[in-house]
């Protein structure tokens, strides 16, 4: 199918030129990173930008850097590059576990984590994981730079707190200062390439704190402080499950769509939370399933 909507194409070599272009089009241009959402959305007439601004030639946006206990993921860094990074593997195995279940290898060779959160779909795999790390999204617009905590990033389905004149430059992900273990459990209709029917991201920190976030079970990814409070300092035993089930029911708001019914999503989220909690507890003490193995 040819793309029927017509638009201009620009590939600025510097960030300054990209900012000028986005200002010239007064917000009616789309930023193009991997294009794995954008090209589809233009084909489907969901988006009709006057221009696309390809940011892949801007050197500073291609950087994947670690300094000062923070991983900075530039806007043009692909999921494949994150998976292949020894640094990310060593310090953020949870991010590798999550990145490996985004789409398939051929899509991950183009798709970026920044594009993933800019699309802002409820099933975006990066959302819950970035939430448990307390990541910060850096954007630049005509009024200057803003740092947006990822908890304030997602506003609704396909809606984020980015202004159309702003470009995301990077996501900063702080490495926890204490020993930690994570887990990303994704439910799809089949293993391989599918969007999440439900997902759970967990990050357990030595000392008794466990961070919990959900994907695909509400209008945005959801982090649950209430469940985190409940878990604080408690030993994980079967006696916690009934209370946890009730808290999950209170926290998430799944809908029925072509991928799953809301009842199935709710039921599976409870199971995934339990399996994930068991896994992070064991990973924290050096046992437990290897990162990347399926818990479902």
């Amino acid at each position: 199918m040819a793309i029927s909507h017509q638009f201009e194409y620009h590939r600025p070599p510097t960030f300054g030129e990209a900012m000028k272009l986005i200002a010239d089009y007064k917000g009616r241009a789309s930023v193009l990173a991997g294009g794995t959402d954008l090209v589809n959305w233009i084909k489907e007439d969901f988006l009709a930008p006057e221009a696309v601004i390809d940011i892949k030639n801007i050197p500073e946006l291609k950087k994947l850097e670690y300094s000062g206990n923070t991983l900075s993921v530039g806007a043009a860094v692909t999921f494949s590059e994150m998976i292949d990074s020894a640094r990310v593997k060593e310090l953020f195995p949870l991010i590798v576990e999550q990145s490996q279940v985004v789409a398939c290898h051929g899509v991950r060779n183009r798709a970026t984590m920044v594009g993933n959160i800019c699309s802002g779909v409820p099933c975006c795999d990066s959302g819950p994981v970035l939430m448990v790390y307390d990541a910060v999204v850096h954007v630049t617009g005509p009024k200057g730079e803003r740092k947006i905590p990822v908890m304030e990033w997602f506003v609704g389905p396909k809606k984020t707190s980015r202004d159309p004149m702003e470009i995301v430059t990077k996501i900063d992900i702080p490495v926890p200062t204490v020993k930690n273990a994570g887990c990303y459990v994704k439910l799809g209709r089949y293993r391989g390439e599918d969007l999440a029917q439900a997902s759970v991201a967990l990050l357990a920190l030595e000392g008794g704190e466990t961070r919990v976030a959900f994907g695909s079970v509400g209008p945005t990814p959801i982090r649950s402080r209430e469940i985190e409070e409940f878990l604080k300092g408690r030993e994980l035993t079967d006696s916690l499950w009934p209370d946890l089930d009730k808290l999950v029911e209170k926290t998430i708001a799944p809908i029925s769509d072509l991928r799953a019914t809301k009842e199935y999503r709710l039921h599976m989220t409870k199971i995934m939370l339990k399996r994930g909690l068991n896994a992070v507890c064991k990973r924290l003490v050096g046992t437990g399933p290897a990162y990347g193995s399926s818990l479902l």
Binding site: S4, R11, L32, G35, R110, G192
Partner: protein
Amino acid sequence: MKKININFELNNEGWNLDVEPSDTLLEAVRDKMGVKSPKIACDRGDCGACTVLLDNKAVRSCLILAAEIDGHKITTVEGLCPQEPTPLQKHFARNNAFQCGFCAPGMILAAHELLQNNQKPSREEVQEAISGNLCRCTGYEKIIECMVNPDLKSGEDK
């Protein structure tokens, strides 16, 4: 719209082309360059039939704008080994890995990328590498078997 002039390599040959901003790489390769191995199937990133190598990495050409490939290198099955099929292709053929063959160009390029970096992949690594390449005929068994035991040196079966 203003046409975009692009310079790139397709199967080791330099090209200079004017494209519309809205042309996809898949359309450009098939219709403007006459290279037909990448197939138009789902046209939305789901099936892998349109796979090409972009700077030696498997990508979906239906989700890439032709304008994006300026300065880059594209390889299709035609360019892997211009004179004759590659040892991997022969291996696939001898073992009847494919039936209708519609998925084969994408599958071969995905396999090529994996085997470039990993000569002895495990079954799991093979499944992961081709998990985005749908085949409606074979059930994947033979394709996976051939990739787990690629036997690329001799080109002969063991």
